[in-house]
Assembly symmetry: C2
Homo-oligomer: 243 residues x 2
């Protein structure tokens, strides 16, 4: 077992066994190095691994703390890498979204309060009122997140949030067909929110599934290019190396 692995599993074991509890500050680097028998460099690499996985959180100048270990802390680490998956993976994610969004919609229909229904319709109206595609996409995300929250399962809500973030990279609303798509999307939202307000889980599940499926079809049809940062001209194409 390598030194970094030793430090990684040692730290993970301390957390799993409760010796280091959620939110607690872990011992300083020096002490951990001595206890785990590795150098500071190796320990720091292990700490970075756990930080990337959302388990611990170093704070410059203060110390390193165990995360609250809530589901979103751990699942959120997926958002950094999910968008690296190829396109076939994205379509598979949509199938999962269909199923889970339908489930949370049904749960929300069974559990929602009048205040929560009001929030949903307020988001819909804000969505219909804006012309900014970016803002509309943001509100769309909040609308679905609110439904997931009402569903009552934070783990599921954070998982869906990650999946939606991956989909949002492709901004269908900025296409020439965007306004038309948005109008249909708004209709879907009203159908979904109405079903939830009526406490009709079956209708809500159906509406949610249809909505996701519609988005997926649009994506398949148009497949806009994704641009995530500055567009660097591929001047560096050193494909002809010595191999």
């Amino acid at each position: 077992m390598s030194a970094v692995d030793k430090a990684f599993h040692g730290l993970r074991h301390m957390i799993a066994t409760g010796r280091l509890g959620a939110g607690q500050r872990i011992p300083p680097e020096g002490e951990l190095c001595e206890e785990l028998g590795v150098s500071r460099g190796s320990l720091r690499e292990a700490v970075r691994m756990l930080a990337a996985l959302g388990v611990i959180e170093p704070r410059h100048g203060s110390g390193t703390y165990v995360s609250p270990l809530r589901p979103e802390d751990v699942i959120g680490s997926l958002s950094l890498t999910l968008e690296l998956l190829p396109l076939t993976g994205l379509l598979e994610v949509y199938e999962i979204r269909r199923v889970l969004e339908a489930h949370v919609a049904a749960q929300a229909a069974a559990r929602c309060t009048p205040e929560e229904v009001g929030t949903l319709f307020a988001l819909i109206e804000a969505m219909e009122a804006t012309d900014d595609p970016t803002k509309a996409s943001e509100l769309d995300h909040r609308f679905h997140s609110e439904i997931a929250r009402i569903g009552g399962n934070p783990t599921l809500a954070s998982l869906l949030s990650v999946f939606r973030a991956r989909s949002r990279k492709y901004q269908v609303f900025t296409l020439p067909e965007g306004p038309e798509l948005r109008r249909k999307s708004d209709e879907d939202h009203r159908v979904l929110a109405t079903a939830i307000a009526d406490h009709d889980p079956v209708a809500a599940a159906g509406a949610a599934q249809a909505h996701v499926a519609q988005t997926e079809r649009w994506l398949r049809a148009f497949m806009p290019p994704v641009e995530e940062d500055s567009v660097e001209a591929d001047s560096v194409r050193e494909d002809g190396n010595a191999s």
Copy 2:
């Protein structure tokens, strides 16, 4: 932005834009340090982060390679941390499992071939034939993984595999009530496999959901203690502290 963040996002950007493709070897540490403007230590921490997330894989003496970027590569990183979640998180995971297992069962019922049905029943018979709880748990995992595979969505299959691994930590079959639970579990498996063999998605979904719900009830009822010392490489034998 810190040096490690600079290296992390720089590497991630190279992969996202395709400059570093799946399976490809990335430049050696020295070159990347110069290009990204960070020291070797910082670069190595960034590499470790991406490795923890399943995106790249360093090979001692050979180089560092981009992973195949298959869904299981990225989702598998969750398995290292999901078991750190508190118990409430586990129960939420069970709700997700209920929904997704039902879905893959329905998909499998719609898509399965006679050969795949044969595999399922062979696994059931092997499960019923063994007395070893550990082996039974292993076969149970393979049975459900096979159904998920037949379902046709590798991303979903790997996600469910991670969720099941979390549940398997609690070995209900080793309890005093284990044999009784196993008998009922075997019945569930036969019902599920029969529904799949009959190409009856509705029955398959219902059977899968009921099976997961049953397991969840057992876990709530007995809640056996978790023992996680699966790694026997006790190179650190100085753990005999005051804990």
